[in-house]
């Protein structure tokens, strides 16, 4: 491993944060500098994440690009107290795709935010803070830092939504952005309550004096301990993953958020939850995971169906997408809950796939909203006439979302279904049906909003700007790439999933 390799994860995590710090010193009125600077930073970070993906040795598997700095010693009678809290970084087959996903969404999000004029400086600073946190979670190999970055990614959300977001205001239904921001924030932090409790309990129970995941994985926690604390992690992280019935922050939050934030939030942040369940829950407490998965299966399938039906019942364009995220994250949770190589691999791929896809969705919906200033589905008709490219992007996203072959969504969903049928066939049937319902509401939306005769109101709309085309194009490329050639992705994921499952079989 070269010197560069051992620092790359640190660089990826630190660059957004450093970028945010640097931007503090750029005068606020020089928005052009701020934009180009943000784009440059995001581009570099994205390139680095690609490098990590390419350079990850899937045959060797395990954690790679590792590096650890001692950060705080913890005094006490334990064996590893001198390690205490470490800034330990490393990625395995599960986190590598997530890191890359974050890189992609980050860059495209910056591009999508090009038009932001009001307090652009603050926006990009907060945006970068958010992404620094997200990267941190994916690369942290220390529970403290994992939690640190997890919380860090929550911090900017309130302002990003409350300041730059938009309220939903129908005659019968009002959701202010402040309300949504507050709910999102409180919910995520409430989730972290459970996580936090579980983390300190793990620390206390292990008695090693360190939060390092690598050290903690050597501990066989007692069965009772695992049974008590695994649900905390599952629900705590599950909240972030939109687990039913703790999901309501997610549609409201996504709808209220500005486009780029919706992209990051639905695209990447929700993945933190699922990732957390895997990295902390399943990884450290395999036995508890094994025991509690039926619950997750139950909630997950509710997620899938309930989210799909809710999406169908919405009047607001963005709410449809918001609820579809709930539905799709349900599939991720189901995949995890199978604890089967196919299901888990599918879940990880679905995390990636949904990330890209939903980012595209929000980018498209954002483009529509920017031009029409409404999201009421009833107001739209025949937009494709004026916005061909936007419509095309929406179609791609929609197809990926309903799991059409050739798109990433298919591969992921297929693997999840395969895994489900191996373990919980009935749920598998329901999940497939859920995916079919997706087709119904996505196509309804498409037919209503983009097709049909053009509504007179929108006859002067313009199509996507070059910059929007470019950023959405990047996402489309990944949707198709994964859909058609999942091989390079799956072999990386496979290496991670195999290690993880070895722990469960080892424990159970």
């Amino acid at each position: 491993m070269t010197m560069f390799d051992s620092y790359i994860l640190f660089i990826i995590t630190a660059l957004p944060l450093v970028g945010a710090a640097v931007m503090l010193f750029i005068p606020a009125h020089r928005q052009d500098i701020i934009r180009w600077f943000s784009a440059a930073v995001a581009l570099v970070v994205m390139a680095f994440t690609f490098y990590v993906f390419a350079a990850y040795d899937h045959e060797a598997g395990g954690f790679q690009f590792m590096r650890a700095w001692n950060w705080l010693e913890l005094p006490g009678p334990w064996t590893l107290g001198s390690q205490g809290i470490q800034l330990g970084l490393g990625v395995d087959g599960i986190s590598v795709p997530m890191v890359m996903l974050t890189g992609i969404v980050m860059f495209t999000g910056v591009l999508i935010s090009w038009k932001i004029v009001d307090r652009a400086k603050e926006f990009f600073i907060l945006y970068f803070l958010l992404l620094g946190g997200v990267f941190g979670v994916f690369v942290a190999l220390d529970l403290f830092f994992l939690f640190f970055f997890y919380e860090l990614s929550v911090v900017p959300m309130y302002l990003l939504i409350a300041v730059w977001g938009s309220s939903t205001d129908f005659k019968t239904f009002l959701r202010t952005k402040e309300y949504s921001a507050m709910k999102l924030m409180l919910y995520l932090v409430a989730g972290s309550v459970l996580i936090w409790i579980a983390l300190v309990a793990i620390f206390a129970e292990a008695g090693l004096g360190t939060f390092s995941i690598l050290a903690l994985q050597e501990i066989d926690f007692s069965r009772n301990f695992q049974l008590i604390f695994f649900p905390l992690l599952m629900i705590g992280f599950g909240i972030l993953a939109g687990l039913w019935p703790f999901h309501t922050w997610s549609p409201d939050g996504h709808v209220a958020a500005p486009t780029a934030v919706s992209m990051v939030h639905a695209g990447v942040l929700m993945k933190l939850g699922a990732y957390g369940i895997l990295r902390v829950g399943v990884f450290l407490m395999p036995e508890g995971a094994d025991r509690w998965m039926p619950l997750l299966i139950g909630l997950g399938i509710v997620n899938v169906l309930y989210g799909a039906f809710s999406a169908m019942g919405q009047r607001d364009l963005k709410y449809v997408i918001g609820y579809s995220s709930v539905s799709h994250m349900g599939l991720v949770l189901l995949g995890i809950a199978t604890l089967h190589p196919l299901g888990l691999g599918g879940a990880v791929l679905q995390m990636f796939s949904h990330g890209v896809m939903t980012a595209l969705f929000f980018a498209v919906v954002g483009a529509v909203y920017d031009r029409t200033h409404t999201r009421d589905i009833a107001m739209f008709s025949g937009l494709a006439k004026r916005m061909v490219v936007v419509a095309a992007f929406f179609v791609v996203a929609g197809l990926a979302s309903l799991g059409l072959p050739g798109t990433s969504g298919f591969v992921a969903e297929l693997l999840i279904f395969l895994g489900l049928f191996q373990t919980y066939p009935i749920v598998g049937v329901l999940a497939v049906i859920g995916a079919a319902i997706t087709a119904v509401y996505i196509l309804r939306l498409l037919a209503k909003v983009f097709f049909g005769p053009l509504d007179e109101r929108w006859k002067d709309q313009t199509d996507a700007s070059p910059i929007e085309k470019f950023s959405a194009g990047i996402l489309v490329v990944f949707i198709l790439l994964v859909g058609l050639f999942p091989f390079p992705f799956m072999r990386v994921i496979d290496s991670g999933v195999t290690t993880l499952l070895a722990r469960i079989t080892g424990a159970g």
């Binding site: 944060l17 606020a28 950060w71 705080l72 010693e73 913890l74 005094p75 006490g76 009678p77 307090r119 603050e122 946190g133 403290f144 939690f147 640190f148 970055f149 919380e151 860090l152 929550v154 911090v155 309130y158 302002l159 409350a162 300041v163 402040e178 921001a181 507050m182 924030m185 409180l186 932090v189 409430a190 309550v193 936090w196 409790i197 300190v200 309990a201 620390f203 206390a204």
Partner: protein, 503 residues
């Protein structure tokens, strides 16, 4: 033999106070604006002097009623720094709103002396007298805006209830004196360790002692003076009240509980846990419905007292067979100290911003913050960072300290209480976010930019940098804290060995 040179910093502090008072007496009004700078320079000098002179010195005076050790030095430094920041943040405010600056700064320095003495006390009488020095100064400072009815009312309430509580505490001390025969911490520990169980009289005494301390730190149900006093006091004094007196009181409590009362930890742990639980719940719930920013922060600081009490309660681990393990006491002590520092930095910053933003003392409604994000992005950023730090979110120091503290408590088997603590900090997020909302989302009535003096800018910048730096890299501070906690007899010696003795 007593080595009085060890007391030099205390003497110097008293001297400084006299100097300021004298200077006030002899200078004309024009020159009086140099008084705070005299105070700052003096405090800075004393700080530097103490650090250089006392570094590594360990000693005790009068057979152990007064300690000069790393712990005392640490708190001496922290408290003097707090003093410096309070003086600095008072300068503009005093000039504008208060008269008698000489007395103001003089008394302020006396209270700093009181705090410093508290940190060194290892005996109840000394502690009590130091506490009174601090309290008397605060009674005056709280009422210093003499013609403001709120300030006056705050002072009356604080004073009368303070006297009441000090009577309670004294009765407790008298009980302890009578039943243990001593008020020195080390001897108390020895006697307590030899008792098979605590007699009711002693329990009453300890409860009264704890109640007196709880009053000082504003723990529920002895907290009720706090919101009123915080709201009424001149804003820099509020900061001082919230930060300094609490830090000092906890400096005393930490030493008291770990050195003197640790043998009966099995008894008082649950009492403190109850206090902590009540305090964090009531504090955070109370803050939820406040519209006055100072009052809101008062309740929030009550909540934080709950967390600190949690740390004290977690000083030892009582096993099922009633034996006591001190194996991880260090962790809890460190956690408490870290949180004190974190809380101090954060709150001073918050109150300073408030004192700048609100022009009319006595009317600090939260809507006055509206549009601050546009009127003064810097002030808004600092206040936002402060409230987020108070809420315990990274990258600010509040996150690290809370995590450390709660982790320590969980390690000591108080997981249920930790759960409650974390839960209440979610509640706290709600009202902290209201502040953020006012600053960034709501439009301002008056959109004019706020003029901020260079001095304030500098102080706030320093505090902000501290919040972030310690939030990202607390290791240097932790080294100092480690050094300090090593000095506490029970904590510093090898925990496992001591546990055996105490069993």
């Amino acid at each position: 033999m007593n080595n009085f040179t060890l007391l030099l910093p205390e003497f110097l502090l008293a001297g400084l106070a006299f100097l300021v008072l004298t200077a006030d007496f002899i200078t004309n009004d024009e020159r009086k604006r140099y008084l705070p700078w005299l105070a700052v320079a003096g405090l800075g000098g004393i700080l530097a002097f103490s650090l250089i002179f006392l570094w590594g010195d360990i000693g005790s005076l009068y057979g152990g009623i007064f300690r000069i050790d790393g712990y005392a030095l640490f708190f001496k430094a922290v408290l003097i720094v707090i003093g410096i920041f309070v003086v600095l943040s008072s300068i503009d405010y005093v000039k504008k709103n208060l008269d008698h600056p000489g007395e103001y700064y003089g008394i302020l320095i006396f209270t700093v002396l009181g705090m410093v003495l508290l940190a060194s006390s290892a005996e109840l009488l000394t502690a009590y007298i130091s506490l009174e020095l601090l309290s008397f100064g605060l009674y005056v400072l709280v009422g210093f805006d003499r013609y403001n009815p709120k300030s006056n009312e705050a002072s009356v309430k604080y004073m009368l209830l303070g006297a009441f509580s000090s009577a309670l505490m004294l009765f407790g001390i008298s009980q302890i004196y009578g039943l243990l025969g001593t008020t020195r911490f080390d001897e108390m520990a020895r006697v307590l360790a030899s008792l098979p169980e605590l007699s009711p009289g002693l329990i009453v005494g300890l409860v009264l002692l704890i109640a007196g301390l709880a009053f000082k730190v504003a723990a529920v149900p002895f907290h009720m003076w706090a919101p009123d006093a915080y709201e009424g006091a001149p804003t820099p004094v509020t900061a001082y009240l919230a930060v300094g007196s609490k830090a000092a009181a906890f400096a005393l409590m930490l030493r008291l509980f770990s050195e003197a009362l640790i043998p009966s930890v099995g008894d008082w742990q649950i009492i403190l846990a109850i206090l902590a639980a009540l305090t964090m719940t009531v504090g955070n719930l109370g803050a939820l419905v406040q519209t006055n920013v100072k009052r809101l922060l008062a309740y929030s600081s009550i909540g934080h007292v709950g967390y600190l009490l949690l740390g004290i309660a977690a000083l030892a681990f009582v096993r099922d067979d009633n034996t006591i393990s001190l194996a991880t006491t260090h962790l809890a002590a460190n956690g408490v100290m870290l949180h004190i520092v974190a809380y101090a930095i954060t709150n001073i910053a918050a109150f300073l911003v408030i004192s700048v933003v609100f022009k009319n003392p006595g009317n600090e409604d939260i809507t006055g913050l509206a549009g601050l994000g546009r009127r003064s992005p810097f002030l808004a950023m600092v206040l936002a960072a402060s409230v987020l730090s108070l809420a315990g979110l990274p990258i600010f120091v509040g996150f690290v300290s809370k995590f450390y503290l709660f982790n320590a408590a969980a390690t000591q088997g108080l997981l249920w209480l930790v759960g409650l603590a974390i839960f209440t900090s979610v509640i706290s997020l709600y009202y902290y976010l209201q502040i953020l909302r006012q600053m960034y989302v709501e439009p301002a009535e008056d959109d004019s930019p706020i003029k901020v003096s260079k001095l304030t800018l500098g102080v706030l910048g320093l505090l902000f940098a501290g919040m972030v730096f310690l939030g990202v890299y607390p290791a240097p501070l932790m080294d100092a804290i480690q050094y300090a906690s090593d000095a506490i007899a029970v904590v510093g010696s090898s925990g496992a060995e001591l546990a055996h003795v105490l069993d």
